[in-house]
Amino acid sequence: MSASAEAAVRDEVRAWLNDHWDPNAGLVEWRTKLVESGWGAPDWPTEWHGRGLSAELTRVVEREFARIGAVGVATGGIRLLAAATLLEHGSEAQKAQFLRRILTGEDVWCQLFSEPGSGSDLAGALTRAEFDGQRWTVNGQKVWTTSAHHADWGLLLARTDWDAPKHQGLSYFVIDMRQPGVEVQPLKQMNGYASFNQVFFNDAEVKAEHLVGKLGQGWTVAMTTLAHERRRADGLRSGRADVASEARQRGTIHEEEAQETATVMAPYKWYPQRAGRVDLALPNALASGRIGNPALRQELARLLILSSSAEWTARRARAAQQHGQPQGPEGSLGKLAASHVARLAARVHTMIAGADALLAGEDGPENGLIAEILLSVPAVSIAGGTDEIQRNIIAERVLGMPKEPRFDQGPFRDVATNASRD
């Protein structure tokens, strides 16, 4: 990237912000301005609310926003995965209907891929969508859906052809979550929280024009969503969020944004990715005095080695991308590393807590925080793609090892599924 291009963009966005930024504007009002100007999603195409800038120049824009503490477009939840998928596979009408309200934050989205019978095997989905010539009728069950209870729209993977091979019988839809045929139930985890939901479809409807991509090509479309999801799974904060604001935040718009964030983040309390909490280990070891325990010192050092190395590996992968190397499956390495980190962290937290590791809630160390960590860690290696799936991906896509022999390639009707075994 040339320094002059960088300077030009910096000057332009600075001037625009100077003219338009108003910390007392309404949140949607301000984001509408962002969408209209293209400064809210500068890496998006110019025809769809963006400016077609490179990743590097987008970062320049983000730094300017951060410098003065200007609020950006909505990024919480899975809305950016929805946007990326629609930008790549959506019809013009879909883009027109959805993209703007994604950026303004007016619509909340959720992802409806996993099912009780097909967790790791997403393409084994049994939820069915049937077309009556006018609309699609959906029946079945999804699971592990974050934010489903306040989502407006869902990204739905459903089976539309039972005679096609597994991966060719799926289609991808946008489904209206605010309808009677959609029932959302929280799914309680072993740590007592419900980060996820189950979603039941009983003759739920999808408009004909809300099929994304072609009929039977749902798996291809879903791969786009998943690729963007994995890109964010490297253990580092996602692109936009890691440009920390240097400015003091003032004005009513920040209150409105904080409220939005609180709503989005609510289900993420003890969402698996938060488990481990390596940051607490050293301070707690020092505060408890157990830092003097030589066995703990060894494990603590192991934890710091592992978590630092994992962070640096993620940064190396991101730096490589920023320098033009193609996006690879590094997310899988980062995800796998996160499992190791979380397990080792649990071990270290236990050693620090000693017998107090028996206790939870107000009686437990740090008001129950340690117990929550210990009860949340097992999810890290499962949620968002199990370790086993990550190892398959790494072995096959990075190391070029042969694929598993397949037992699910004929017509899906004939494939052994959990439903067929029930």
């Binding site: 996993s114 009780p116 019978g117 097909s118 967790g119 790791s120 095997d121 084994g124 699971v143 592990w144 597994k166 799914l187 309680k188 985890q189 072993m190 740590n191 007592g192 325990n293 066995a295 703990l296 397990r343 236990t350 050693m351 807590a353 000693g354 017998a355 107090d356 590791a357 028996l358 206790l359 939870a360 809630g361 107000e362 009686d363 437990g364 129950g368 117990a371 210990l374 009860l375 097992p378 999810a379 290696s381 499962i382 949620a383 199990t386 370790d387 086993e388 190892r391 598993e404 397949r406 037992f407 699910d408 390639q409 494939v415 052994a416 599924t417 959990n418 067929s420 075994r421």
Partner: protein, 391 residues
Amino acid sequence: MPDIQFHFTEEQRQFRDMLRRFMAAASPTSEVRRLMDTEPGFDPAVWRRMADELGLAGLMIPERYGGSGFGLVELGLAMEEMGRVLLCAPYLASAVLAANALCRIGSEAQKQRWLPGIASGETLATLAFAEPGSEPGVEPIAMQAAAMDGGHSLTGCKDCVVDGCNAHLLLVAARVEGRDGLAGLSLFAVAGDAPGVSRRRLQVLDPTRQLARLDFEGVPAELLGGLGEAGPALAETLDIGAIALANEMAGGAQRLLEDTLEYIKLRMQFGRAVASFQAIKHRCAELLLQVELIKSAAYHAAQVADANPEALAYEASLAKAAASEAYLHAAIEAIQLHGGIGFTWDQDTQLWYKRAKSSEVLLGDPAWHRERMIQCLEGRESTSAPTGALA
């Protein structure tokens, strides 16, 4: 020293089969889930049947005090079966810790007074030794017993007392002034509802095991045995407890393996059973090895405890350290192999995970026990020299 047996006798196997049937009927996970939300945390009716029909409450109590006079091998079998089903009961507290402490420390009159009630299950007792933030073992005990009216009174706090809120009889370890380590420790008896005792049920990570904090404010207490002489017997009691716990953990780990295998043999992904994937198979093979290894350690420790008490500390620490790591490993693997369903509240694996986690630190975490093993070897406290059988 008698031969260590590497197999159970026909009688022991029958005892185990009977226990397994009883426990399966008495403690399905639906019952575990129900009980863990109740106030006492166990089912008094089941407890009575365990005592009356099976004689479990007095298993290690000599016959002359109303017990069955069995050794730790039989107790280990019972604990293993309880561990399999996550039985919610004050067994470790009353029948293991308190019964052993009383047997080893109490005077003849005190034994006659309390042991029959414990053996019949009527009296629930527990041993209060740990204190807030204290390291494992009995050496760190700091609570002071004060002389009062020719007797003693207790003031201070005991923490993480197993079934402390349920116990009718509290056996409380405290120190006479100016001594430390094993020396100067005494054991006192206090009624659970004695004035000046406040008991609070603690919020726990593993709701199948009840813990309490006990605060004592000048509570009159009856000295058990000789003043300041309880240290070694208290340490032995905790070692007996650790071995019992290791056997319980072996049972839990075995159950986790069985349940997981059953699930993944049926569960289909990619058109085939999860159990057919080689990476899964190899991990299950390793898991079986881990489970067999901790069974061996737990069984061996129970045998040694009966046959060669000098090796008790070494064997207890070996078994407890082995079981702690392997049980937790089994629980982690079990959840992982179940996939997403495995970390939901409604799936049962999490119950064993929590028991594995609480068992890991109860009566000393594995690092502490490993360090203690080496201390035993250095001090030749143990006569059971480790052997390099595979060399």
